[in-house]
Amino acid sequence: MLRRIFYLALLLTLVTLPAALRGQTNDTDGLIQRMQIKVKLYPGDYKAFASLGAAYLQKGRETGDAADYELAKSALSKSLSLLSNDPAAAFAMTQMAVACMAEHRFTDAYNWAQRALAAGSGDPSPWAIAGDALADVGDYKKADEAYSKLTSTFGSADEQQAIAYQRESRVAYLRFIAGDTPGAIQRTNAALQIANELHMPAENRAWTNYQSGEEYFQLGDMKHAEKAYQQALDLYPGYYRALAGLAKVRGAEGNLREAADLYDKAITAVPYPEYAAALGDVYEAMGQADKARKEYELVEFIGHLSEINEQIHNRDLALFYADHGLKLDRAEALARKELEVRQDVYTWDVLAWALYKNGKYDEAYQASEKALQYGTRDAMLLYHGGVIAAKAGKYEEAQQDLMAALAINPHFHLTYADAARKSLSFLTAENSSKASVDDHAR
């Protein structure tokens, strides 16, 4: 769930594409080529440049390649240089907001979304991005207000449904943060139904299925999680998010070989550091230390591949370092840096975890309280919270958090689920052994 907002932001790309671009399945390269030809033929066509920018954003969404975002911004800037004081400019402005979200420039994303709204196009879609930016900076209440504006009485029935899709898929995330995972699943399934009815592009429907899988996984419902990930793969074969999701399920089932294979496929499609870290963990669990080390090296390599990667993957790297007891000073520094621009529960969680690993238990506890302040039913957050609470001497709270983590999903993580059980056994034993509660995973 950590990266969810990022994905949601990008999803708008195709949902709001002009009619001519809708209904494509997996032809983003073809679309880019057509738009490139169009802007060459008509260098004054603001719509063509905006569509080209949107297509590059979609490409970036599919490949995870930050270079696509640069190309998108360039095309969108050109569009806005041709037309900016007009309701029709709202589309390019909204796409610019999406590009900023992809680069984790949340304030810029919010500002672009506001500029799009100020253009008065009558299309409420920019509220989606404004809400995403607010959610990423941890202002969930205002995000909810923003999402509540995703309604429209104008446009065709399909257009109104597309707006409803944006609202449902985003409100689902807020429900999850608020601790209502069943409610989140309900909203995601509603979004999925709309996506199917609208015959939205396959990648978008696959994404929604993947989200559904993530929510079921959080609930510990492996059967439905697997089904949702599989549906995503049926719709969009080779979909890296669904591959990674399915890998998680296989890992939870103890089928490590298949988990490794699936993670490997996901990394081949899009090399995200979190996938490499997860694959390394699987190899480690399989006793293949050399292979694990290579994957861990890959995590750092990807994280530092470019300036934009460092910006995007700060939090992933901080978590990776903290999880593996590596460069702990750096882990804390990265988490603090991320917190400057992003104050959502997951950034607080990563900071708490990094502080804990650095032995700063009181500070870690305070950060963990922030991470858990909304009652989010995320087993990893609760596990971190439980371990940190124990170190802070809050044994009862620690016990409750760890029990909650395991109750939500007894297989929430390849190694941390067992670690939670061990920690819990210490906590339920005599008081003298409580102080030895620790991160038993590594």
Binding site: S81, P87, A88, G122, E145
Partner: protein, 426 residues
Amino acid sequence: MRKTIFLLIFLAAFGRGRSQIISTDSRTPAEQKIAWAKAEVTAHPEEPQPYNDLAAALVGRARETGDPGYYDQAEAALQHSLGKDPHNFEGLKAKAMILLGRREFKQAIELTRKLNAEVPDDVLTYGLLADGLIETGAYQEAVDKTQWMLNLRSGNVPGLLRAARLRWIYGDGDGALDFYTKAYQETSPTQTEDQAWILTQMAEIQIALDHFDISDQLLHSALIAFPDYSLSLESSARLETARQHYAQAVALLRQRNKSFPTLESRYELANALERAGETAEAKTAYAEFENQALRLSDTPNNANRDLILYYLSNANRPADALRIAAGEARKRQDIATLDAYAWALCANGQYGEAEKQMKAALTTGIRDAEILYHAGVIAEKQHDNSAAASYLKSSLELNPASEVSQEARRALDMAMAAPVAAAAAN
């Protein structure tokens, strides 16, 4: 009306006109846009578009503050843009905005017609053209252009706003309120001046319809959204005048005139002072108004319509009123100008021509108590007592407490009595 009530409930519950979502940025929407545009100018000084954005933002700031000096700044920004590319479309659109702000309607129409022919699917160009057409009285063409806006992009706010204004002009008050409500709902809460502007337009309609309490709430919300907004203060003063709370009207207009008073707002203050019994100060205010209005009478940014009314209502100089009204009517044939011209003709005993001009003013079917009163008096002067009674009744039905309601009742009594008197004489 129901939609306005819903909007009021919405405002009371959530908005009170102030955004719940905006950040702590204390700048006004136009100031923010100016800052964004200036940052873009710094980043891309070779491009024309940042200067266009700056010019458009400065035009917005002119509306926020009422300070016409921003048009000069906007023009300066535009010089940079047009210097880099004299034919850049967005620059020329910004130029049209400046022309409209300076009330140079003829030039604005010429320019936007050209732009419209060049790029016939640009929504805002239709809107700018419609603005010029409305101001000069070419209402049917303005309707056509506004319809294009809504056809091209349904629900776009600039289109809804112009459509609302035209609905009011065509006598459809409920329809106008409906579109204003929709436009308000589609407007981002961060655009506080836009919100205040829409609420103020709605309040003006409610004043005209004798719904003072609703108007009061709308203006209250407008002033929370955008404190000290000159247009909302002017409307608030009109509301207090309608309620015969003249001292409050004076206070509101004094507050409004603290910064960048217009000739119109000076004239309104003079009127309010006179009604409040502050005769000496009113006399001075009228004299200052007349001096400045005469000085600017031949410029586009004149206050000739108020000057005409001043000569007719306050100074008893009907000949001067007619001279100015005739000149103004040659330039623009909008409802307010034609009404002022007709009223001046009537005051000069030229009833036939007055009737002709008044019929032209009423072509769209506008529902305005004061204009209908004027029409009633002119009809009476033409001995058309039936028409006079009809106009006067309409005026009183529309707004029984309008500024002209007492005169309208007297005139109606006379119009009703005239046939009886004539019959008795026979």
